[in-house]
Each structure stands twice: as C-alpha cells, then as structure tokens.
C-alpha cells in the first residue's frame, strides 16, 4: 500500500514539474522544475527496484545534464523578454485543439485500466543492481551500446564543426 501511495505521489509531482518546466517564462526556473521532474522519476525507479538506474538518473540527468543546461542559459544570458515575444493566438488555439484531440486518444487508450498497481513479479534477485544492468548491456544490448558510441562521436564532431574556432 505504501508503494502505491508513493508511486502516485511522485507520479503527480513528476507531471506537475514537467508541465511547469515547459510553461515557466524564466528558463532557469524551467531548468529547476526539470530537476524536480528527474528526481521524482528516480524515486519511481526505486519503487520498481531499479536502484542502479535511479542512481544514474540522479547523477547524470539531475546532476550533470541539468547543470549544463543552467550553464548554457547563463552563458547565453537569456532573458524572459525573449521568450515572451512568441505570442501567437492562432497557434495557441491550434495547440489547444490538438492537445484536446491527443488527450482524448490517451483517454481511449487507458480507459478501463485499473488504477491499482499490480505486482511486477518474476524479477530475478539482484535485478536492478549495477551488475545485472552491466551484464545486460554487454550481452543482449551490446549492439545498441556500441552504436551509441558512434552517435556520441557524431555529437562531438558536430559541436566542433558548428562552434569550433575558425581556422583560416
């Protein structure tokens, strides 16, 4: 029962934080809401017994990535004024209509789903620990893992091409 309460509590916090992150006008405030969202997700991972993933979520996302966000926002010196310029009532109306349609779809998709969470079950002992995750990564998922190394290489090269110092 405690698990259920914790899950719904942090699920609601995650949703509210995510909504706040996209609706706040000040980018720094948005970033802080994002931290809150990531941390509540980490709690949900813990409830799923994925401890290693929860730790990674906090260290990498809430720690490193969000820190970079805040750095970039400060370097660019974004002010609330810049974001306030995007005021287009027609677009907002269209957005509202599409949101209603999508929410309707979600309602149909989840209609009849029980709100009481089932038991995950069938988990091997040590399922969420670093060892199990590592073993999966280097056996079953070794191909995607290697591919991601190339994806990251592209990102680094791209940063160099787009933002590197001109050498002429």
């Amino acid at each position: 029962m405690a698990e259920q309460i914790l899950f719904y509590l942090f699920a609601v916090i995650a949703i509210i934080s995510a909504l706040s992150a996209v609706t706040r006008k000040n980018p720094v405030v948005s970033a802080v809401w994002l931290v809150s969202c990531m941390c509540s997700l980490a709690v949900i991972y813990v409830l799923l017994e994925a401890y290693f993933l929860a730790a990674v979520q906090v260290i990498v996302y809430a720690g490193a990535v969000l820190m970079l966000f805040v750095f970039v926002i400060m370097l660019l010196n974004l002010r609330t004024g810049i974001i306030g310029q995007f005021r287009n009532l027609g677009l907002k109306f269209m957005g509202l209509v599409l949101t209603v349609i999508i929410l309707r779809q979600f309602y149909t998709a989840f209609k009849g789903t029980s709100l009481i969470l089932g038991n995950a079950g069938g988990l091997e002992p040590g399922f969420g620990e670093a060892r199990a995750v590592g073993e999966l990564l280097f056996t079953r998922y070794v191909y995607p893992l290697e591919l991601i190394s190339i994806l990251l290489l592209v990102a680094i090269v791209g940063a160099l091409v787009l933002a590197g110092k001109e050498s002429s």
Binding site: A109, K111, E124, V142, I150, L151, G158, L160, L162
Partner: protein
C-alpha cells in the same frame, strides 16, 4: 540470462569499413589543420571517403545472398537491407562527388564534413538492417544528427544556420514522438523486436488495444516526418533551400530512401497485424502529400525550393504505393506495391542527384544557380548540361521513355490492382499538374533569352561524372527496367 552467445561479425563488416573510413577522415582534418591547408584537405577527404564507400559497396554486394541475423536478433541482413544499403552508398557517393567543387569553401572542416557524410550513411545502413526498434532509433538519430550538422556546415551563411536550426528543432520533436511511440508499443507488447511485436500484436484478443494503436500512431509520426509527408513537411522547403546544394541532394535521396526503407520493414514485419489500421492512414496522407507538394511547387521561383516541394510530392506518390500494400500476399515478391516502392526510390535517387548536379554545375562561386530567371538561355549556352537537365525534368514529371514514367506507372498500377481506383486517379491528376512546373524549367532554358550573357563554366570532372551516370541510369532503367525489378523482387522476397 545467458552469458554464452555468438556474434557473427562478418555481417557487420560493411558498417565497420564505413566507420573506419570516417575515423580516418576525422584524423585527416587534424593533420591538415596543423599544416596550413589550401584545397588539399578537401580533395584528400573526397578521395578517402569515396574509397571507403566503394570498398563498403563491394562488401555489401558480397552479402547479396545472405539472409541472416545476429546480436540477439537485433541485426538482420537480408537482400532487402542489402538493396537499400547499396542505394544509400550510391547516394552518399553522389553527395561526395557533388561536394568536391564547393568543398574549398568549407574553411578547414572538410575532413569533418566528409566524415559526417559517411557516418550519416552508416546510420542509414544500421536503420535498414535493424530488426529491433531500439536499434532503428539509434540509427535514425545517428543519421539525423549528422545531417543536421551538414545542413548547417556553411557557418558563414545565415540561411544555412537557419535551415539547420529549424530542421534540428522540428526533427528533435519528431524523434520525441518516435521514442514515445516505441515506449507505448513496448508497454503494450513487452518487446521491441519486429518479429516479437508481430506475434504479440497478432495474438491480442478482441483486436488491438488502445495502447497499441497509440504506439502505432506515434511511431508513424516519427517516420513520416523523416520522409517529409504532409502534415509533417513544414521543415522541407527551408531546410532544402538553406543547406549547401550537395547536402540538399543527399537529403532528398538518401534520407528519404532511408525513411521509406525502415517504414516498409516496420509496416511489413512488426506492424503487419495492424495493417487494417495503417492502410487508411497511408491513403489519406498520400492524397494530402501529393496535393500540398504539387500545388506548393507551382508557385516557386527558386529551383531548389521547387525541387523541395517536388520531393514532398514524390513522397506522396510513394505513400500511394504504401497504401496499396497487400498484407495478405502469400509471397511478398508478388506484391507489386512493394516492388514499385523499391524501383521508385532507385529512380528517384538518380533523377534528384542529376537535377541537383546540374544546378551545382551551372553555378559559379559568386553566382549560385537558383532562380528560374537564371537558367534562361542555358539551352544555347550550355547545350549538354541543359539536355541532361531536360532529361531529369522529364523523368521527374513522369514522361516516357524515362525511369520516372515507369516508376509512377508501377505505383499507380499497384493501386489499381488493389482496387484503389480513386487514389490512382488523384495520383495521375497530380502528376499532370506537376508537368507544368517541371517543364517550366525546360521552357526557360530553351525558349527564353537571357538578359545578360551567361558566364563560362569551368569543367568539373566529379560533378560531370555524377550527372552523366544519373542520366544514363534514368534512361537505361526507363527502357530496360527488368534487371532492377528482378533485384527488387529478390529484395522483398525475404521481407516478411
């Protein structure tokens, strides 16, 4: 969890060659940056990347008879993958050839430019030989990220930056839809593997659940964005116009072919049990895409922008073929819609490489060829180039004896086979509209005089080679299509 498993590295050999070539290209950039450049790095980069692509093509060709999978069923090499891999490699080689002349203006990032081109091709090969949605997604991101950067590689040009940023932001948004859809499909079926997905979807009691349909819709949005189908086409004109022209050609042919290839595999393997849900979607989007593409192209004065809208229109014709897929065909090689898509994409690659090649060739450093006014009188000043352009325009509008005619013919006859008469009629009418704007280019070249004398063009062997090969291909395959059709038939044989 089993620890013992075998990996058949041979299947991955072509991809490994490409990545190795890309790494050497990156190294090249460093070496030349230390010793002050000139045109050296650009030329060396082109030679090295072409060499990599050719070696890779030979290794891919050697896999033509292979039907095999490895990496826990995440990689699947079959003739379908091999066919498209060769198509991507051809598109990339064309991109390199067309880039040679403009690469001098890359300001010291020539090595990186070619490396990204090669890695984007690698991403496409990963995508089309994937049998798992996770791998598809990573391949797609590798390709997209590299192409976003290539679009913005002309840093000194504002429109190049603008195009890259627009493409990146909308593309990232579309990727979000895709991964969201994959998550829903995983949640509904418990697997991301194509085969497993098909099994679970087929055995769901009482029809597909809402969750599965939601996943289907979101995944489709992600891929339809990549192939520039309406209503996910907004980025196309700006991205095509702002990108360096060789990259525009590469995007128009290879990125689109990759999108359609992976969509074909996904729809024909993983999502086949949901065919009765996605077939009507394809029907509707095909009509919308053809209309928007063709009507938009009429009003363009820039040839590059006109070709961008034309690429939307061609996505529409290809969607007609997707809407005509027969999900119950016993042997996919008998499904004429599948054959039509494969033939169409090969011809489409040739026509676009040729058309963009001519644009590149006609432009000079200070005066890029772009508007319709600029080509006036080109028919008399540059007779060979103009003749080639006329061939490509005839082919794009679907006039015999070019490959473009047969491609459209196969698509529309596949639609009629499946009883989609109204769709075929709409397609043919759209095709008739398209004749207007394609032939306008020919009319401007041959029937109008230019106000100022056209400059003399310097000979460029790589660009000329790309144009010549494309023109030959368009005519050869338009008159004798059987060898390509045989290859396409073999390619789809092991698809399902």
């Amino acid at each position: 969890m089993s620890n013992s498993f075998e990996i058949n590295w041979n299947l991955l050999l072509p991809e490994i060659v490409l990545v190795t070539a890309a790494l050497f290209l990156l190294l090249l950039g460093v070496i030349y940056r230390v010793r002050a450049g000139g045109t050296g790095p650009a030329l060396a980069g082109a030679v090295l990347s072409l060499a990599g692509l050719v070696v890779c093509a030979f290794m891919t060709l050697a896999q033509w008879d292979t039907v095999s999978g490895t990496f826990h069923g995440m990689l699947r090499i079959d003739p379908f993958a091999t066919y498209f891999n060769l198509l991507f490699l051809a598109g990339a080689a064309a991109g390199v050839l067309l880039s040679v002349r403009e690469a001098g203006s890359l300001r010291g990032v020539a090595g990186e430019y070619y490396a990204l081109l090669v890695i984007a091709t690698f991403g496409m090969m990963v995508m089309v030989s994937a049998a798992d949605l996770l791998v598809v997604f990573i391949g797609l991101e590798t390709m997209s990220l590299a192409v976003y950067i290539l679009v913005g590689s002309r840093r000194e040009k504002a429109e190049s930056n603008e195009a890259a940023l627009k493409y990146f932001l909308i593309g990232a948004f579309a990727s979000g839809f895709l991964i969201y859809g994959i998550a829903f499909l995983f949640g509904a079926t418990g697997t991301t593997q194509f085969r497993g997905l098909a099994e679970r979807l087929a055995t769901t009691d009482g029809g597909p659940s809402g969750l599965q349909l939601l996943g289907l819709g979101l995944v489709l949005i992600g891929f339809l964005f990549k192939v520039a189908a309406v209503p996910f086409h907004m980025w196309v004109p700006d991205a095509y116009e702002g990108a360096p022209t060789p990259i525009t050609a590469y995007m128009a042919v290879a990125v689109k072919a990759a999108g359609f290839a992976v969509l074909l595999r996904l729809l024909n393997v993983g999502l086949l049990p949901l065919a009765s849900y996605w077939l009507p979607v394809m029907w509707t989007l095909a009509v919308a895409t053809m209309l928007v593409g063709n009507l938009g192209a009429i009003f363009q004065s820039s040839i590059k922008r006109m070709l961008a809208y034309s690429s939307i229109a061609h996505a529409g014709y290809l969607l007609v073929a997707l809407a005509s897929i027969n999900p119950l065909a016993a042997n996919p090689a008998d499904d004429r819609a599948l054959l039509a898509v494969l033939y169409y994409l090969a011809i489409y690659t040739l026509m676009n490489v040729g058309a963009f090649g001519v644009l590149i060739y006609m432009g000079t450093a200070g005066r890029p060829m772009d508007t319709l006014e600029q080509v006036r009188g080109a028919g008399f000043r540059y007779p060979l180039l103009a003749a080639a352009m006329a061939v490509f325009m005839f082919s794009l509008s679907g006039i015999p004896p070019t490959g473009g005619f047969l491609a459209k013919f196969y698509v529309f006859s596949a639609a009629i086979d499946r009883g989609l008469i109204s769709l075929a009629i709409i397609g043919v009418l759209n095709s008739a509209v398209s004749v207007y704007y394609y032939l306008r280019v020919v009319v401007q070249m041959y029937m109008r005089e230019s106000e100022e004398p056209l400059p003399a063009l310097s000979f460029s062997l790589p660009v000329a080679l790309a144009i010549l090969l494309s023109a030959w291909g368009v005519l050869q395959l338009g008159i004798l299509p059987s060898c390509l059709l045989d290859a396409a038939g073999r390619a789809v044989q092991f698809l399902r």
